[in-house]
Symmetry: C2
Subunit: 254 residues, 2 copies
């Protein structure tokens, strides 16, 4: 219904409009949105007008457009992402207070690690992740944990590559990656020095709901820092988050 | 374009579908969604199918529907709400660590206070707010601060009422509310004992970006607790958040 001449649905075109916004692009003109979304100008303007009417986009006095707080509310209010994040947040704060390094929560979303939360410390090491940002599964410590516990079909798809090198020590050999994933399942954690950036080591553990891995908890350490204290703190935070999830309704895909 | 027989746009119908989800309703059947959205069953099913195709909704193995993580990502990634929250979060953590009470960040959204963040403490007093939850402007301490600094037209609309009593001490008299708002603008804070719940006092201060009030920072104290330490902590956190916003791009509606 409501398909364009190209057969694309109205909802697909709305997604293309909203997808033009990003961390470094929070305000755009309607023309910029149309160009970036690859939509005819009249179509883009009509969709933007409707989204503004519903509060999903907002216009400023100079007619520039930004994402609406109403969109934020609709997306979060009933989301399992928010509930998972609320269960983990107090325990992530404890990890961050103890280690004074970036502490992160990630989930698997469309073959990538999507970061639901990131607590930062002013003195912490460099870190490229952001809330609502993504990293490749094979390169980030969070992604490796999620991939190790993912559906086998997804795992095989990622193993088929290409496995792009992000940092100097990113695993790019499928056979090495397969062994690393088996080792993560056995040991229950990963330490990935230099996989994203030369100066840092990602350490991640799985977070389970009713036995199923639903997220990864991670910290980013300076390359030379000891891994063991971080691992102890992460495992404790994961266990406490899991206990809070058990007291709550289930979050797993059933 | 793509309007239904009732003249309602496709986007308006999508909003009605997503709006059926909430904090206590994260999983629904397609039929429940259709009924709650007031849409014909065939229309609801078609919209849900399209939203699932785009990842904005997700289906579990029992064909029940939940909000998609992709929707969460699209709504957050480029949002000013996220940027405001990221600027305030470290300083909210300091407030919470010192006071050990609920610490909250709220913005004005469609004539209500919408809560962008809430940090809780296990020992803290009762508190009904939730992330992505709303409270009336005249009843919550955050709402009172936002209302005091809101556009005069909005303020007059709220003053015209009705001013519903939420707690035993909610201001329901327009003349009293008008004086209270003037006092908030003069003093730069509000303390609202019993306005939401008999057992608690909300304390809130404004948070400015380039001189304009864009949010309220608040804590919920036990009714008998002293207000002064909370006020000092909140003002300090607001000043630090404002400094971090200055270092960032502007958030105000220009």
């Amino acid at each position: 219904m409501a398909n364009s001449a190209s057969g694309e649905s109205m909802i697909a075109r709305v997604v293309r409009v909203i997808d033009t916004f990003g961390v470094d692009r929070t305000v755009q003109t309607a023309s910029e949105i149309g160009r970036r979304a690859g939509l005819p100008s009249s179509t883009a303007h009509r969709i933007i007008d409707e989204l503004v009417d519903e509060g999903l986009l907002e216009r400023d006095l100079e007619h520039r457009v930004r994402l609406g707080t109403r969109l934020w509310e609709l997306a979060l209010r009933g989301s399992t992402a928010l509930r998972l994040r609320q269960a983990a947040l107090p325990h992530m704060e404890s990890v961050q207070a103890e280690l004074r390094e970036h502490t992160q929560l990630a989930v698997l979303e469309r073959d990538e690690a999507l970061f639901l939360e990131r607590l930062s410390h002013p003195d912490a090491v460099s870190n490229i992740t952001r809330v609502a940002g993504r990293l490749p599964l094979h390169a980030s410590s969070s992604g490796l944990v999620l991939l190790a516990h993912a559906d086998p079909a997804l795992r095989e798809r990622v193993l088929e590559g290409p496995l792009r090198a992000v940092g100097p020590n990113t695993i790019t050999d499928p056979a090495v990656l397969r062994r690393a994933l088996a080792e993560i399942r056995r040991s229950g954690f990963v330490s990935a020095p230099g996989s994203i950036e030369a100066v840092s080591t990602g350490v991640a553990v799985p977070l389970r709901d009713r036995g199923e891995v639903v997220a990864a908890l991670s910290v980013v350490l300076p390359r030379e820092a000891p891994v063991e204290p971080a691992l102890v703190a992460l495992r404790d935070a994961a266990a406490r988050s899991e206990a809070d999830l058990r007291d709550d309704a289930p979050l797993t895909r059933q």
